[in-house]
Each structure stands twice: as C-alpha cells, then as structure tokens.
C-alpha cells in the first residue's frame, strides 16, 4: 500500500510543478496591476511605479519566476501584496471552511444520491425509476446559486432554522449548523451525478449471477441489494466521486459567496480580481495538492473495494 502511495506521489510531482508554472504565467498574462488596484484611480504614475519597484514587481519575469520557484521549493508560499500577511496563513484560515463545505457537499451527494440510485435501479422501468431520475436530474439542472438563494431565503431568513450567513461561531454544533444549507446547495448537483452513477452501476450489479446466488441462498432482499450488489457498485461510484471532487471545488466559490462563508474559492476569486499574484499562486498550488491527494485516496481505495485490483 505505502509503495503505491509513494509511486503515485512521485508521479504527481510533475503535475504539481506543471500546475504552478501554468498558474504563474497565466496570472501574469491577465492585464491589470495589483498596485494600481491597491492605490486606486487617484494614484499618480510615479506613486505606482515606486511601490511596484519596492515590491519587486518591476523585475524581469524570469527573475520573478526563479525567486518564486526558489521560495516554493522551500515551502514558502510568499506574502500577499495587499495584506502583507503570509499566504500560507491566509490559506490555512480559509482551508477548514472550504474542506468542511466540500466534504459536506460530497456527503449530501452520497447520502441522497446513493439511495436514490439504488431505488431507481431496484425498481427499474417503473414510475419510481423515472421519478428518481427526474428528481436527480433536477439537482444538476437548477443553477446552484438559485438553489442557494431559495434555501437561504426559506430556511434561514424566514424560518430562522439556520444562520443566514457565516461558517458558525466556532463551536462544533454551530459549525455544523452553518454547514447544512451550503452543503445541501453544493451537494444537490453532486447528488444528480451520484444517483445516475449508482443507478447504472446497480443495474449492472443486479444483473450479475452472484445476485441470483445470493437470492438462492435465501438472503433478504435488503441484504442482497444493499450488501452484495451495492458493495460491487461502490467501486465505480467511488471513482466518479473522486474524479469530480475538483469540479466540486469550483462550485464552492459560488456557494461561499451566497452564504458569506470564508473559503478558498472566495479568496481565489478576490485575489485574482485584485491580481494579488502570490495569493492566487498559493491557492492554485493548494488546490492542485488537494486534487492530487483526492486522486491518491481514490487509487488507494481501489484495492480495498475490489480485491481483484492488487496494489
């Protein structure tokens, strides 16, 4: 197992390096100057140039890149041009809410998606099947910011069951409480994907001979479907959820905006709009690491789920 993890990590280094290099240059390509934004429309050219030189932004690009690569090699993500705080600190404070949200979203997607998929597969072709498919498709068709507004409007503002904003005041319960609506918003789209994936995987599994054997052994319907069949269907489901984790991260930007949650998505968006290069590079670096970690986890899960796959 460890050997596989090591092998995968080594293979991931080029991807990581590729991602950082791409990010460094793409951000520079976008016109706009962070110092000009910082000083606003009333700053004279001289003022802007002075601060740019002080921050080293006027050095030739290759020099800036070498300094950037050198710093990353030692694990130093640099300092934000705006807040002058170390980027690693800014990210660390926002990492927890985003990861909580992402996990919440995945949880919702699985808790709602899997049963729906199983139900649709078990009653394939009936009204229940079409209903489940229809409902799950709804998850992917309604824009998530619309779902977010409606949920926040109904459950938070009007009914007051949940806080209208923020990521909770620190305690476990209040954090969880503040996670419900955002996770639902993020999870609904994921639910559609998981439901459809579960349905087709389950249909395939239920058609297999070992299901007939399980029935012939006299096992209960629930045990046959939820244990023998689902256990096999879990293999493709886990892979799909893993693959789409990156896509899910994209969704957090919008959800964090609607529920005023601090998060990587919002930090990245603001940093990009303000051209705060170090922060953009830092966040992208972290997202790439998260992406690689998730892929690694999916790969490590494979042998556990499917004995035929030897590490």
């Amino acid at each position: 197992m460890a050997r596989l993890a090591l092998k995968r990590l080594l293979a991931a280094i080029p991807t990581l390096f590729g991602a950082i290099v791409v990010v460094f240059f793409v951000v520079q390509l976008i016109p706009g100057d962070p110092v000009r934004v910082m000083l606003g429309e009333n700053a004279s050219a001289a003022e802007v140039e002075e601060v740019r030189t002080a921050l080293g932004l006027n050095d030739p690009l290759p020099v800036q890149f070498l300094r950037f690569a050198g710093r990353y090699a030692t694990g130093d993500l640099g300092v934000s041009i705006f807040s002058r705080q170390p980027v690693a600190g800014e990210i660390a404070q926002r990492l927890a809410p985003t990861v909580q949200l992402a996990l919440g979203g995945v949880l919702v997607a699985i808790v709602l998606g899997v049963p729906m998929g199983v139900l649709a597969a078990a009653r394939r072709g009936t009204l229940v099947d079409h209903l489940c498919l229809g409902a799950s498709t709804l998850g992917v068709t309604v824009p998530n910011f619309l779902i977010g507004i409606l949920l926040s409007f109904a459950f938070a503002s009007k009914l007051g069951w949940f806080p209208t904003l923020g990521a909770g005041t620190g305690g476990f319960w209040s954090t969880l409480n503040a996670l419900v609506l955002p996770s639902l918003t993020l999870g609904l789209a994921g639910m559609a994907l998981v439901a459809r994936m579960t349905r087709s995987a389950m249909i395939e599994a239920l058609g297999e001979d070992y299901v007939r054997t399980a029935n012939a052994k006299g096992l209960s319907q629930r045990r046959v479907v939820y244990w023998h069949a689902l256990r096999n269907a879990a293999i493709p489901i886990v892979t799909i959820v893993g693959l789409n984790f990156g896509h899910l991260l994209g969704g957090t930007v919008v959800v964090e905006l609607i529920f005023a949650r601090p998060g990587l998505g919002k930090l990245l968006l603001d940093a990009l709009l303000a051209r705060d290069y170090p922060v953009v590079q830092g966040v992208c670096f972290l997202i790439a690491v998260l992406f690689i970690l998730v892929n690694l986890i999916v790969d490590l899960l494979q042998p556990l789920l499917d004995p035929r796959v030897q590490p």
């Binding site: 068709t141 824009p143 409007f153």
Partner: protein
C-alpha cells in the same frame, strides 16, 4: 425499428426532444414572439410585477420587458451550450483518441495535461480567458469549451481503451487495416454513444456555467439578453423582484432538463445494456 417505435420504447427521448425543440422554436421565433424590443428601456416602468397585459412577466431594473429578454436569451444559451460542447468534443476527441489509441508515452503525456487542466479550477481558467481577451460571447464559448475539454478527453480516452481491447479491432488490424482506417471505421462509431451522452450532459452544464459566469460578473456584455446575466442581475434584488430570477432561472432548468433527458434516452437507445 422505426422512429415511432423508438420514441415509444424510450419516452425520455420524446420528452427531452420536445423540450429542446420548444426552446429552439422560442429562440428562432424570438423576434416575432416577443412583445417588446429586449433592449428597450423604460426607466419609469421599472421593476413592474408580472401579470400585466403590457408586460406578461414584468420588467427588470431598467424597465426592459422580461418576457422578450427570456425569448432572446434562449438564443445565447442555445449558442453557448452546443458551441462550447463542440469545442470541447473536438479537442477532447483528438486528445482522447490520441491518448487512448496510441497509449504508452502519449497516453502518459496527455494524461498529465488533463491532470493539470483538471487540477486548475475551471472557474480560474474561464476567468483568465475572459479577463485577458475581454468578455464577449466568443470568449465565453472558448472559456467554457476549454474548461470542459479534460472531462471529454477522459471519457473518450477510457471509451477508446475499452474499444481498442475488443477483438474486432485486433482482427481489423490483423487483416492489414491502417491505423486511420481502423479508428474511423471501428473505433469512432463505437465510442460515439459515449461521446453523445457526455455531450448532452455537457451542453446542460455549459448553460449552467454561462449562468454562473454572469453571476460572478464575467458574463456576456449588456444589453445582450442571456438567461445567466438575467439571473445574475435579478439575484441582487431577489427579495423585492423575485420574478426576474424565476423567469430566467426556470428556462435554464427546463432546457438543461430537456438536454439531460435527451442524453439519457439516446444512451438507453444506443446502448441498452448500460441503461
């Protein structure tokens, strides 16, 4: 099996098809169907609620007729969706085919490229393109197309690997068929169903991405009416003028629902086993 029988056996093709056709019709006939010029402003008649004969779906913050804008909005969504999917499928097809068919080094290389693109949040990629080239319909399509390419590429790559392992491909090669011939005759038709399914779902998500981009303020420039920008504009005043968001959000949902049903139906029809 004649067309009617196909529709009867696969109702989702029928329903999905009808929805998509209706939306296409609305887009096509927009000039004749819409009561007002979608860009005509009337600041005095600003934010009128729906239900009046003059403005069936009410007016927006500039006093423009919401119904007309929804009809014209269909045009953009029906251009953005398929066009960006076209880009994604062409790029995805070439890269996916190369990776899946050639295998070994190319597969590794292209696999890495996909990884980097997937590791790169698609929002950032789209943002970079729009910020660099300016927000126009074309750039929006390019941005969405590029951000969906890795997904297409991956699906096609796995489909190609699946097909390539089949005996009929090996036998074709054994009979001396060239690579291009084998790909064209044997590989392509068999991965078509996978491409088709991904495309219909991708059209659905492309329309949503356009809406999200507009929501984040990077959408198609005014006064062009797009469903996404209408929802984005209306969202800020959701509490006082919910009809704007709903009249634009509903068509997005219906269209995307139509495309998904169509995709499901076609996949069931083409590849019953996976249904």
């Amino acid at each position: 099996m004649n067309a009617l029988a196909v529709l009867r056996r696969h109702p989702s093709i029928a329903i999905g098809g009808v929805i998509v056709l209706v939306v296409f019709a609305a887009a096509l006939l927009a000039p004749w169907l819409s009561p007002h010029d979608p860009a005509a402003q009337n600041l005095v008649a600003r934010l009128r609620p729906p239900g009046t004969a003059e403005h069936l779906l009410g007016t927006d913050r500039y006093g423009r007729d919401v119904l007309s804008r929804v009809l014209y909005g269909a045009r953009v969504s029906l251009i953005v969706g398929p066009a960006s999917v076209l880009i994604a499928s062409i790029l995805g097809l070439t890269l996916g085919l190369a990776a899946g068919y050639v295998g070994r080094k190319t597969d590794m290389l292209i696999g890495r490229v996909f990884d980097v693109m997937l590791a790169f949040p698609s929002i950032l990629l789209a943002l970079a393109i729009v910020a660099a080239l300016g927000p126009s319909l074309g750039n929006m399509i390019l941005a969405i197309g590029l951000s969906m390419t890795p997904t297409f590429g991956r699906v096609i790559r796995s489909a190609v690997i699946g097909v390539r392992a089949r005996d009929y491909v090996a036998s074709a090669r054994a009979l001396g068929a060239g690579h291009l011939f084998t790909i064209a005759v044997h590989v392509l038709p068999n991965i078509l169903s996978a491409v088709l399914v991904v495309s219909t779902v991708a059209v659905a998500s492309a329309i949503l991405v356009e809406a999200t981009m507009s929501f984040l303020g990077l959408g198609v420039p005014p006064p062009t009416a797009t469903w996404g920008s209408m929802v984005a504009e209306g969202k800020g005043m959701f509490l006082t003028a919910p009809w704007i968001v709903i009249s634009a959000g509903l068509p997005i949902t219906v269209t995307v629902f139509g495309f998904s049903l169509l995709g499901d139906g076609i996949r069931d029809w083409l590849d019953p086993r996976s249904g």
